[in-house]
Amino acid sequence: MMSSAFRNAHLTASRLINPKPFSSSSILHFLPLCSGDASPRRSNPLRHRNSVSPSSSFPFCSISSFCIPMAGGDGQGSHSLEKQFDSFRVQLEESAALREQIRAVVMEIESATRLIQANLLLVHQSRPIPEVIEKSKEKINDLKKFYGRLAEILRECPGQYYRYHGDWRSETQAVVSQLAFMHWLETGTLLVHTEAEEKLGLNSLEFGLETEDYLTGICFMSNDLPRYVVNRVTAGDYDCPRKVMNFLTDLHAAFRMLNLRNDFLRKKFDSMKYDLRRVEEVYYDVKIRGLISGGDIPGVQVTQGQS
């Protein structure tokens, strides 16, 4: 469009110069195009050549109505425009301050989780499970406190849980994975969603544990199990692979009931089968060497029987 306009301009210029050179130069001075005061008095000898089209009897009106009274529109319009953006800045600053507060709590959650995790890692070194769990449980109270604080911060902005949710999402997933692992060590069962919420002192009405986060945390827990099995077997607990295998098989079957989207959770779920396979391998290794015989016989008793 521009180029055609310029081509026109060029043509005009060459046409103009021939017949009345003076007029062309006078127009140049007479048409300060950005001045804004487009007055109909602006005369141009050339316009006489134009035929007046009926539809444009008030061409200037139509232009100025586009550009809404330049002066007035500018003053008033830009004032309300500025006001709006000022209020945007204020609102965004408030939300940034809130986020700041959230991040501070999330960092505490993160470090508490890390302590729990470090403590739970002792099970790989064959420390007695009750002792390990006892120590970790103390830390859960800290977590509970932190989540309470988080809920309190979010009470200030009702309905905006999901606006800030991303800020504690991955930390919460880690929390769930540690809690679930602990729960499994203790009871041999899966920590279900409501139990996890209970442990963290959350209630779903106000500040809940997002189902996706819970499920992702469970997947993280599954990632830790092969290592646990390997170390238990090394330590002489030959029953462990079967237990873990059964648990993981059930868990994997349960996960397959979910219709997942192609997202992070799906990816984590896909990785669960490798955990299961690894545990099966360990179980196979142990079983084929006769360290345990049938799946129903607990390894502890086998060892007892042999000694």
Partner: protein
């Protein structure tokens, strides 16, 4: 090492001593009852796991379906808002009223049909959770609404203005869907692209003042947004939009510059070719 060697000892022992078997069987018999209890417990554990997961499955299914419906509504809003934008682009000097009237009606239709649908889906909840699903549509709608408003009145359609038009659409008992600042700003950032096209079009149509008005307006928007962007939550998207916006501003400025410098040369011709040059206004001199 110790445990390792003991493993091998035991393996060897077991291979050589099948005599142990009865003893083991005896043990099984002894713990049979315990075994049953244990088995029952794992059975319930398993079924409780299944139960728990079926509730998760329901939740995920419902939520994903809802998300899909929201995405669909968002797409429809996008598509129809684009049509409004194209309609506004059709304006020229002599058809302004009718073009904008139609655009206004189309915009209203987008609101009544598609935005209302989006609101019904959201039912007053999950505004933030599903934001990513509906954000593109809302942005496009903001773009269309502000574009229309600017061409109509030369002013910016504020977020409050837009939200006010949305309130009557939703069920009064529910919390109304309000476009959030972030989507509004993102939509506004896209507006400059459309205004750039409009400005270039108007210039070649001879409406220089309109183009200059656009130029000022876009400059102002760019300046204001520049101050707001660093405070936005996920400013990555916005930063790239700011780059594009600056390019648009520069294009408009260059076009205005060209007209300013050479305008005197081509306006008479436009008077010649275009049936509705504004220079005709001076016809009264005749």
């Amino acid at each position: 090492m110790l445990s390792c060697s003991s493993v091998f000892q035991r393996v060897a022992f077991m291979l050589m001593a099948p005599k142990l078997k009865p003893q083991r069987l005896h043990q099984i018999a002894e713990t049979g009852a315990e075994q049953l209890v244990k088995k029952a417990r794992t059975m319930t554990a398993e079924s409780s796991m299944k139960d728990a997961f079926s509730t998760y499955a329901d939740y995920l299914n419902n939520f994903n379906e809802k998300r899909e419906r929201v995405v669909k509504a968002s797409r429809d809003i996008t598509m129809n808002s684009k049509k409004v934008i194209f309609q506004v682009h059709r304006l020229s000097k002599d058809n302004k009223e009718e073009v904008l009237e139609k655009a206004g009606k189309d915009l209203e239709a987008v609101r009544d049909q598609h935005f209302a649908r989006l609101m019904r889906e959201l039912q007053g909840t999950d505004f933030w959770k599903l934001r990513r699903a509906y954000s593109p549509g809302v942005q496009e709608y903001v773009e269309a609404a502000t574009f229309y408003k600017f061409c109509l009145s030369g002013t910016l359609c504020t977020l409050d203005d837009i939200n006010a038009t949305l309130v009557p659409l939703s069920d009064p008992s529910l919390e109304p869907l309000q476009i959030n600042i972030l989507d509004y700003i993102l939509g506004l950032a896209d507006l400059t692209g459309e205004l750039m096209r409009m400005a270039i079009g108007r210039i070649s149509d001879g409406e220089i003042e309109f183009a200059q008005r656009i130029c000022q307006f876009v400059r102002q928007i760019h300046r204001e947004l520049m101050l707001v962007v660093p405070k936005m939550d996920d400013s990555y998207d916005m930063k790239s939009k700011m780059e594009v916006m600056l390019q648009s501003v520069i294009k408009i400025e260059n076009a205005c510059f060209s007209v300013h410098v050479r305008g005197s040369e081509y306006i008479p011709l436009l008077g010649d070719d275009a049936p509705t040059s504004y220079l005709l206004g001076a016809a009264d001199v005749e």
